[in-house]
């Protein structure tokens, strides 16, 4: 406990994770909407400063593996530890989360009309859950944080959402819960197997990675993890909660959901499912890649026929996340880099698109294309940001989306498997389709003549709204023009994970559970060994 409090006081990952949750305590006494809103912004900015500061202090290629000292015992009788760490793989997502937090607060500034106190509480608790899940290195801890994300998101959709908000919120909750309960069983099974082999309980990721499981067990366990993560991503055919949740969620909720929550699914595959069950991953890779492809095409086709801007963006998420999944199951360094970058890209561009849709919804209280047309004449700034974010989402060279998709497709296409090359080739049509449906939305809303009189008097974006979108667009451009600084820090980590993964795939399959020799986490799943002094300094 004392050590934990010390960690909480220092410039550590622990402070990064728990600061938003602790900031909820004073918030309990701030009842007024205006004050709660300002307070949430303040906390968001401080949290962003913490996050950026921590990453900045350790920036470089390779990005070092940061740990908060030795793991602390949490429930010692069952070997459950409080153990967190950040490496080149989790760093970009952590950065994205802390940057989006203040943006979401500002983006909800006008859109949330009631009970800001509750909204801010949910948002801050959600942030703690997200960061905890991204940084946890103990599977029990990971599961707790994973579930902690559920309730705040349920409340955000259910209280501040649209017409059918309750249906959407319950559906979101039950889908996610069903998946995560399966994962819980799998985690229990893993921990128990480890206890049988090593004689002591442990949920530590490093310990569980030592288990070498027979093919059938791997298949079951991989299945349980994969369903939990695939629901979160969401992969076809487990995606049906997503359009409902997105359409009904308030703007801020959609941004968090699309920007970060979905990435937890893909991150889960990369961090846990693939390294823990390498042979099963390899065996089911064709299935997963196939489903990813279906997701890409299906998401795109369904998005094409939408008449509602928010629904269109929601379905485009399914397609975009399909690319990420395809990249992950190509097992190629270039594809993995593309996948990791694409997770961030999707957070930026889809986040911006949801914000933009929210802005027009606040003005006209509708999201249907048919109600718009010719907005570029009355709202030039709005048109600029919409076109910019759309082009980023489409994958225009020079913006971030292109880099990610190119790396994924190129990486997948260079694989030895003919089938995978075919999948990559087919997936390329997804890029074309993305241009079709996204540009259709742009054309229908901002170009052409002004069809509705009430649109003539619409106000262009305020300084608040411009301020909100500017950093996102700046990042899109930056990543698009000069991606290397974003790729380099995580490359060694991805390479290390891939190397150990490939070594495990080629291991001789076992018939009963075996225990591999102990190896430092940095060599098998978490990238690079911390270069002593730098990391130590950051932990002060």
């Amino acid at each position: 406990m004392d050590t934990f409090l010390q960690l909480l006081a220092g410039n550590t990952l622990t402070r990064l994770i728990f600061f938003p949750a602790l900031a909820c305590l004073p918030l309990l006494f701030i009842r007024r909407d205006g004050a709660a809103r300002a307070y949430a912004l303040l906390v968001g900015l401080i949290e962003a400063a913490f996050g950026i500061g921590l990453v900045w202090a350790n920036w470089g290629s390779p990005f070092p593996l940061l740990r908060d000292g030795a793991p602390l015992p949490w429930i010692p009788s069952w070997g459950i530890q409080y153990s967190v760490g950040m490496d080149g793989i989790s760093m970009p997502l952590v950065l994205l989360s802390v940057i989006l937090l203040p943006i979401v607060v500002i983006g909800s500034w006008e859109g949330i009309h009631k009970n800001w106190q509750g909204f801010a509480l949910s948002l801050l608790l959600l942030t703690t859950g997200i960061l905890g899940a991204l940084l946890a290195l103990d599977l029990f801890l990971f599961y707790i944080f994973w579930e902690v994300m559920l309730i705040p998101m349920y409340l955000i959709i259910g209280i501040w959402g649209g017409q059918r908000r309750v249906y959407a919120a319950v559906k979101f909750f039950l889908f996610t819960m069903a998946g995560s309960l399966l994962m819980l069983l799998a985690i229990l099974w893993l921990a128990w197997t480890y206890k049988e082999m090593a004689g002591a309980w442990s949920f530590a990721f490093a310990d569980l990675l030592r288990l070498q499981l027979p093919a059938s067990e791997q298949a079951w366990l991989f299945g349980a993890f994969a369903i939990a993560f695939a629901i979160k991503v969401p992969m076809f055919p487990l995606h049906t909660w997503l359009p409902d949740a997105h359409v009904e969620a308030p703007t801020g909720g959609s941004v968090i959901l699309a920007g970060i929550l979905l990435k937890l699914g893909t991150y889960g595959f990369l961090r846990f499912a693939l390294p823990l069950f390498p042979q099963a991953s390899q065996r089911y890779a064709p299935l997963m890649a196939g489903l990813a492809l279906v997701g890409i095409l299906y998401g795109a086709l369904v998005a094409w026929v939408q008449a509602d801007m928010k629904k269109l963006v929601a379905y485009s998420s399914i397609a975009h996340l399909g690319f990420v999944m395809l990249g992950l199951f190509a097992f190629d360094l270039m594809a993995w880099q593309g996948a990791l970058l694409q997770m961030v890209n999707h957070g930026l561009s889809t986040g911006a698109l949801f914000l933009i849709v929210g802005m027009i919804y606040e003005r006209r209280h509708t999201k249907e294309f048919a109600q718009f047309g010719g907005l570029a004449k009355v709202m030039p700034w709005f048109a600029f940001f919409l076109v910019f974010s759309t082009l980023s989402s489409v994958g225009l060279p020079g913006l971030n989306g292109f880099v990610g998709e190119f790396l994924i497709l190129a990486g997948t296409f260079t694989s030895k498997s003919i089938a995978l090359r075919g999948v990559a080739a087919t997936a390329t049509f997804g890029v074309v389709l993305a241009a079709v449906y996204l540009l259709k939305m742009v054309a229908a809303t901002i170009w052409g003549p002004i069809k509705h009189e009430e649109n003539r008097s619409l106000k262009d974006l305020s300084w608040r709204e411009k301020l909100l979108l500017a950093p996102l667009c700046l990042l899109m451009l930056w990543i698009g023009v000069a991606p290397e600084p974003f790729l380099a820090p995580s490359r060694p980590a991805l390479a290390a994970v891939l190397t150990s993964y490939q070594a495990r795939v080629t291991e001789i399959p076992v018939n009963t559970v075996a225990l591999r020799p102990e190896a430092p986490l940095s060599e098998v799943a978490l990238g690079v060994q911390p270069p002593g002094p730098v990391a130590a300094e950051a932990r002060q």
Partner: protein, 485 residues
């Protein structure tokens, strides 16, 4: 065996908590008759009784057998005693405002509750079946009277009658079971019955029947499917704060006896595997039945009654593969259940003020904003009952499932997981109604009820805090079980 039946001082110390509780109950009755001015102090006085009994159980009860092996105390029975007394204390706190509001404040309520607690704490230490039966009757008769305590409303009478009729019937079952076991094994002491069964003494069929009757009896007290039919009606009509006690304490005491009986019955080699099947079957039926029936309830108390059925189903999972570690999951689960269930009923006492009417969940619509603290307590208890981290309820479920996985009963854990997914749906509905619907019914203005709020707040806070920081509690339980040797 020693032919002398002399009672030593150590024997008396071993029932010190019960003596204290019974004495306190009698004192309260006398005070009610002779010093009615003291009525207002009855709740604090009875809290002194429960806390004192807890302190005695913790410090003074000597470990090991007493009364020539009739009773047997150890760290586990101490923990169970504390759980029973915790439920009693929370219920007493929640009762104060209710009794005043309804004009029912009198010593009988407190006395009956304390005596019933004494019956429970005695029963869970009993190692001899007739003592078990006497303790069972002591606790049951007090509970029947308490269920009908609200004399002026019809549903209370219905609650008490249903509970009493079925309870009396079940008592006969238990007695017949004891008689059969005594007839076939020649003893009513549980260890000796186990020894006789291990030696294969007596008729297997009659012994099996005896055990089945005992399981049915305690299954009734725990409201397991198919012995659960009384619980929704009784919960609905009985005074709400008393249900906080009824839904927790007798179940805790009964599961202790059930474990002893199943353990003893498993000593018989030919029967041993059958008990695991029977218990698994009861667990599956209760988990699925309880959760599915709870789904369609509109009354909060009935919903919680069925949810209680499901929770007892989860609690049986560790019994299906009975070993020493089962106790760890059972104790943690019971502790969590005591806090979250008592908390939920404590909030229900505060929010619903017409005992004769239904306690419709839909009446709570929008009250999340009108009563922020009470609603938050109810929401925490609901999420904990649903097994959502980071609450104590999740840890309980987690340990139960872990025990199943550890003992190669992953299918039982899988059914449990499936059932808890169903459960989440209706627990979440309460949260939904509280926060996501507009108010439909204006609550009646009531005087503040400090003790009631304290009960609800304490239960919810502990549920959350111990869920976040469970190390010490889990460590204590694990140590206590490990020390059993």
């Amino acid at each position: 065996m020693s032919p002398s039946y002399a009672v030593s001082t150590a024997d008396l110390w071993s029932i010190a908590p019960e003596i204290w509780l019974a004495g306190a109950g009698a004192l309260l009755l006398l005070l009610d008759a002779f010093l009615p001015a003291l009525k207002r102090a009855f709740t604090p006085l009875s809290l002194v009784a429960t806390l004192g009994a807890g302190w005695l159980a913790w410090t003074s009860v000597p470990t090991g057998p007493s009364f020539h092996g009739t009773l047997d105390a150890n760290a586990i029975t101490c923990a169970l005693t504390l759980i029973v007394l915790l439920a009693a204390s929370l219920a007493l706190l929640a009762s104060d405002g209710y009794l005043r509001r309804e004009g029912l404040l009198s010593g009988e309520y407190h006395a009956l509750l304390l005596w019933s607690s004494a019956g429970m704490t005695l029963m869970l230490r009993a190692n001899e079946l007739l003592t078990v039966f006497i303790a069972l009757e002591l606790l049951s008769i007090c509970l029947y009277a308490l269920a009908g305590y609200h004399r002026r409303i019809a549903v209370a009478a219905e609650a008490a009658i249903k509970y009493f009729l079925m309870g009396a019937f079940v008592s006969a079952f238990v007695l017949l079971g004891i008689a059969l076991l005594y007839g076939e094994t020649g003893s009513s002491r549980i260890p000796e019955i186990a020894r006789a069964l291990a030696e294969g003494k007596g008729s297997l069929a009659l012994e099996a029947l005896g055990v089945v009757l005992l399981i049915a009896g305690f299954g009734f007290k725990m409201s397991l499917v198919p012995f659960h039919a009384w619980s929704p009606d009784t919960y609905q009509g009985a005074p709400t704060p008393f249900v906080a006690f009824l839904s927790v304490a007798p179940k805790a005491a009964s599961v202790a006896v059930l474990i002893k009986i199943v353990a003893a019955a498993s000593a018989s080699a030919p029967l041993a595997p059958k008990w695991s099947t029977v218990v698994s079957l009861l667990a599956v039926l209760s988990m699925l039945g309880g959760n599915l029936l709870a789904l369609v309830q509109r009354d909060l108390k009935r919903m919680l009654a069925y949810s209680g059925v499901a929770h007892m189903g989860y609690l049986l999972i560790p019994l299906a593969s009975l070993n020493r570690d089962s106790w760890v999951s059972v104790l943690v689960y019971l502790f969590a259940y005591a806090l979250m269930n008592a908390g939920a009923f404590a909030v229900a006492t505060l929010l619903f003020d017409k005992p004769g009417e239904q306690h419709l969940i839909s009446d709570l619509s929008g009250w999340g904003y009108r009563f922020p603290v009470k609603s938050a307590c109810l929401a925490i208890c609901m999420l904990s009952l649903g097994g959502i981290p980071p609450t104590l309820g999740f840890l309980g479920k987690y340990l139960v499932f872990l025990h199943a996985v550890e003992n190669h009963q992953i299918w039982l854990a899988a059914v449990g997981v499936l059932a808890s997914l169903v459960g989440v749906f209706y627990y979440l509905r309460v949260v939904y109604v509280l926060y996501m619907k507009d108010e439909v019914k204006a609550p009646v203005a009531k005087a503040g009820d400090f003790l009631g709020n304290l009960s609800a707040g304490l239960a919810a806070l502990l549920t959350l805090v111990l869920g976040l920081w469970p190390g010490p509690v889990l460590g204590w339980v694990a140590d206590a079980v490990a020390r059993l040797g």
